[in-house]
Amino acid sequence: MRTVRVIPCLDVDAGRVVKGIRFVDLFDAGDPVELAARYNAQGADELVFLDITASSDHRRTMVDVVSRTAEQVFIPFTVGGGVRSVEDARRLLRAGADKVGINTAAVERPELISEIATEFGAQCVVVAIDARRRPAPDGDGEGVAWEVFTHGGRTSTGMDAVHWAERCATIGAGEILLTSMDRDGTRDGFDLALTRRVSDSCPVPLIASGGVGELDHLVAGAVEGAADAVLAASIFHLGEFTVGEAKDHLAAAGVAVRPA
C-alpha cells in the first residue's frame, strides 16, 4: 500500500520558526520545538526543519533545536540549511536528525550527495531543489521547463530541475524535496506540472512543496502531482488547519494516509 505523508515544514531563522512569501517578507510563527511537538501530537508523519539563514552562529542554534526535538518527538525529521560537508551532516544526525537536506552545496559539488550517502546511507540524504518556471527550450512540447535556483532562491544555475532530480537519485539521494519558487507562500497550490514531471522521472520518493493554501491543494499534489509526500507550512503555522484535518481531507478524497 502506498500511503502519502503529510509533512509540516518549519523554516527556522535564529531559533524561531518564520514564514515568508516567495522566499521573502518573513513573519514569526513560534518556537520550533513547541511546534514540532504540537504537529507530532496532531499526527504529522514527518517534520522538516530548514535553517534558512544558516550562518555559523545559527548552525549551533539549530543543533540545539534538533537535539531538544529528538528528546520528545518520536517521528522522523529532516534538517536542512547550510549542510556543506559530511561533518555538517554528522553533527545534525548525531544530534538526532534522521535525514539531512542539502541544496546549494549539492549543486556546487554533487559528490557531496554520494559522500553523505556512502557514510550514512542514502535514506538520510534529502536533496532539496528550488525550481522556478522558465520558457521551455526548443523541442519541449509542453512549452514549460523549470530551472534550479540556489542560495535560498537568489542564484540561478541554468540547470534543468527535472534532470537534476534524476541525477540526484542516481548518485545517492534517498528522497527529493521539490519546492516551486513561483508558488512558495502564494497559497495558490503546488506547481502540479512540475511535481508530476519530477515524480514520473525520478525513482526515489518525492516531497512536493510550495504554495499550499487550502486542503484541496494537498489532494491535488498527491493525485495529479503524484507526490509521495506533501509539505506545507503556513496553513499549519497560522492554525487554519490541523494536520489531522489535512489527513481527514486527504482520506475523504481517497488518498491513503496514516490516520491522525
Partner: protein
C-alpha cells in the same frame, strides 16, 4: 541496562532516547566487554547491509551480540540491525549476516518505489504469538525506510503490504526484530519498545545464562 550497540553507524541516539522515554536504562555501548552486563541488547542499523555487517564485525560487537543471543538475553534488531540477524542479503552477497535466524534478505518487489519510505500498516501473522506486538492497536501504523527485507519464514510475526507482503517483524524466543523503526513510529512504536523493555525487565540475570561455546545454535525451537 539495555545496551544499544554503537558500532559507528548513523543515528543511534533515536533508539536510545525512545527506549529511555519508555523508562529503560538504555545506553549506547561500543565496548564489547560491556555487552555481557546488559539485560537486554538492541542492534540498530541504517544505510546498507554490507557496511553495517563489516562495521559490526570490525567493532568486535558481532561476537558480543552472538554471545548475548546464545545466553538468551532479550535482543531486538531494528531495520538493518534486524536484517543482520539473517544469513545474508542480496544487497551485499559477499557479507554474511549473523545467521541466528534462517533465511535471506531480499530486494523489495519491482513496480514500487525503492526505498519504501512511509508509514504502513502491520498485518499480524495468524496463529503466531507475539510479545513484540502485544497490545498494539489494530490497525498499527509504523514507519518504514528500506529497499530490502528478510524473506518470510516461520519466524515472521507481521508483514506489511508494499507490492506484496513484506516481512515487518520476526520473533524467535527472546530474539526479536523489526524492519520498521519503532523509535520513529510515534506512540505505536513507543508501545512496542515498551514491550521489549518489559521483556527485559522480566528476565532475571543468570536464570537463562548458559556457557557460551563459539557460534551459538539459533535460540528457541529449530525450524
Amino acid at each position: 541496562m539495555i545496551a544499544v550497540l554503537d558500532y559507528g553507524i548513523g543515528n543511534l541516539r533515536s533508539a536510545e532516547k525512545a527506549l529511555q522515554h519508555v523508562g529503560s536504562d538504555a545506553r549506547l555501548v561500543s565496548d564489547p566487554a560491556r555487552v555481557a552486563d546488559a539485560e537486554g541488547v538492541v542492534l540498530p542499523g541504517v544505510g546498507s547491509f554490507g557496511p553495517c555487517a563489516r562495521a559490526l564485525r570490525d567493532s568486535g560487537l558481532a561476537s558480543a551480540a552472538l554471545d548475548a543471543i546464545a545466553r538468551g538475553t532479550p535482543f531486538l534488531g531494528i531495520c538493518i540491525g534486524f536484517q543482520l540477524l539473517y544469513e545474508g542479503s542480496e544487497e551485499d552477497p559477499d557479507q554474511p549476516g549473523l545467521g541466528v535466524l534462517p533465511g535471506m534478505v531480499r530486494a523489495l518487489p519491482r513496480g514500487v518505489k525503492h526505498p519504501q519510505m512511509q508509514w504502513n500498516v502491520l498485518d499480524r501473522v495468524a496463529g503466531h504469538e507475539s510479545g513484540l506486538l502485544a497490545g498494539t492497536p489494530d490497525p498499527a501504523w509504523v514507519y518504514f525506510v528500506h529497499s530490502f527485507a528478510p524473506e518470510m519464514t516461520s519466524d515472521t510475526t507481521s508483514t506489511c503490504d508494499y507490492g506484496g507482503p513484506i516481512t515487518a517483524s520476526a520473533e524467535r524466543g527472546p530474539l526479536w526484530g523489526t524492519q520498521f523503526h519503532p523509535e520513529k513510529s510515534g506512540s505505536v512504536g513507543l508501545g512496542i519498545l515498551g514491550n521489549f523493555a518489559r521483556e527485559v525487565a522480566g528476565t532475571r540475570p543468570g536464570v537463562s545464562a548458559r556457557p557460551v561455546t563459539g557460534r551459538p545454535a539459533p535460540p528457541g525451537t529449530g525450524s
